[in-house]
Symmetry: C2
Subunit: 223 residues, 2 copies
DNA sequence: CATAAGTTAATAGTGTTACTATTAATTTTG
DNA sequence: CAAAATTAATAGTAACACTATTAACTTATG
């Protein structure tokens, strides 16, 4: 797949105080927060450590993001926008619904290799962060308020895109949204189990297993 | 369903410093930590606030649990032990594998009404905590170490019990474990979506919807 | 070109959290 | 009943999340 270089997505403005893509320091914050969260985990990640990491300090980071929760929401929005883009790209000019379904599943369920879409965002590492940290963005007491603010819009759009394709494959299927959402979140869970709870998966470790499980399962459910 | 009163489960000893079921204060800690975590969320929950809540203080709580993460793991272990017990109970003397599968799904996927199993644990509230906090117990950098310590054993046992029943229904099905784990974690996700991301489900809000979705889906996959 | 205005970054703080060491009070036991 | 063991509260510490203030540097304007 070939993508235009230096892709940019529109991110909800309420997620940042100053656009991190607009300055050198901002791009450094994005790049190294991804690396640092992956390395030490979101709980141990602090703006102080990030500041040290980029040769700046805490309060400079605070001028871009209100707190680390918003930063994680920003990175997640970026990730899901990138997935959405690739989903739409992968089904361009494809007419057959089943074909579309399979391609879209490949995109959400695939292991991500680093891709040169942007210089300051390493998609492979970001994918690991989403696997282990994404659910923390909505498993909070503020979820309903933040949902109203549109912080989960891109994520929900991806779920509905998949649901629509499911409906194209089988128009009378009554659970397209539930099925879609259980697959999108399911792929993330399975990637985690594959790495940490091997006992409760049948995967042997090679690429594309998660996608192929969901494709086979969907075929049985819908055909 | 009828259960013996005052049920007790064996909880991994590494999860506590002093057995909370062995004293009045300990039982109060269990009871009110469940209520408080549900009320304010796990992030805002502190031992100081819990101490105030039970008319005691912080350091007394620390004599029972090393930190709030271990307390959450304790509560989760209790919850999954209770689910496992009810799963096994529900399939006693049932010979038909498909019947067993359906009953077991009803147990994992059901909304929990308070049950009088124990005086100091409100299962309905605990179920809400599991829905919004359980994944935080394993989405940490310590997961592999804690997995070796057996902190997730009961959870994995439930997944494997379901996988075994799937294999009984269809012995040649190659993904029983993956399917089982995607259902157990899927039910929890769907309950959350039902409450907070209604746009990505097809549920209308009445009881048993999640269970019935998974039962129908499993029937299509396996039969 | 000088100076005001605006932007950026660092210092130094505050209140809270997570956790510990110490001491005081109570209960158990020989 | 005294010694030993257990329990509980006080008082502390280091780190964290976040803010107010000030210093420095850049840009705009008369």
């Amino acid at each position: 797949m070939e993508f235009p270089g230096n892709l940019r997505f529109t991110i909800n403005e309420k997620l940042y105080l100053k656009d991190p893509e607009s300055s050198e320091l901002g791009r450094k914050i994005l790049k190294y927060s991804i690396i640092l969260i992956d390395q030490i985990g979101f709980e141990s990640f602090t703006f102080k450590r990030l500041g040290q990491c980029i040769g700046s300090n805490e309060s400079s980071v605070y001028r871009y993001f209100e707190n680390k929760h918003k930063l994680l929401l920003y990175l997640s929005s970026w990730y899901w926008s990138w997935i959405e883009y690739r989903m739409l790209f992968s089904i361009q000019n494809i007419a057959d619904p089943l074909q579309k379904l399979h391609r879209v599943i490949e995109v959400v369920a695939a292991e991500v290799k680093d891709d040169e879409t942007t210089a300051y965002i390493d998609e492979a590492i970001l994918n690991r962060i989403i696997i282990s940290e994404y659910s923390k963005t909505f498993l909070t007491k503020e979820v309903d308020k933040e949902n109203k603010d549109g912080f989960f819009l891109v994520y929900k759009r991806i779920n509905l895109l998949l649901a629509d394709i499911i409906s194209e494959v089988k128009p009378d299927y009554p659970y397209s949204k539930t099925l879609a959402s259980s697959i999108v979140v399911g792929t993330i869970n399975q990637h985690f189990f594959k790495q940490h709870f091997k006992a409760i998966t049948d995967f042997s470790g090679h690429d594309g297993e998660v996608a192929s499980f969901y494709i086979k399962t969907l075929d049985k459910i819908l055909l």
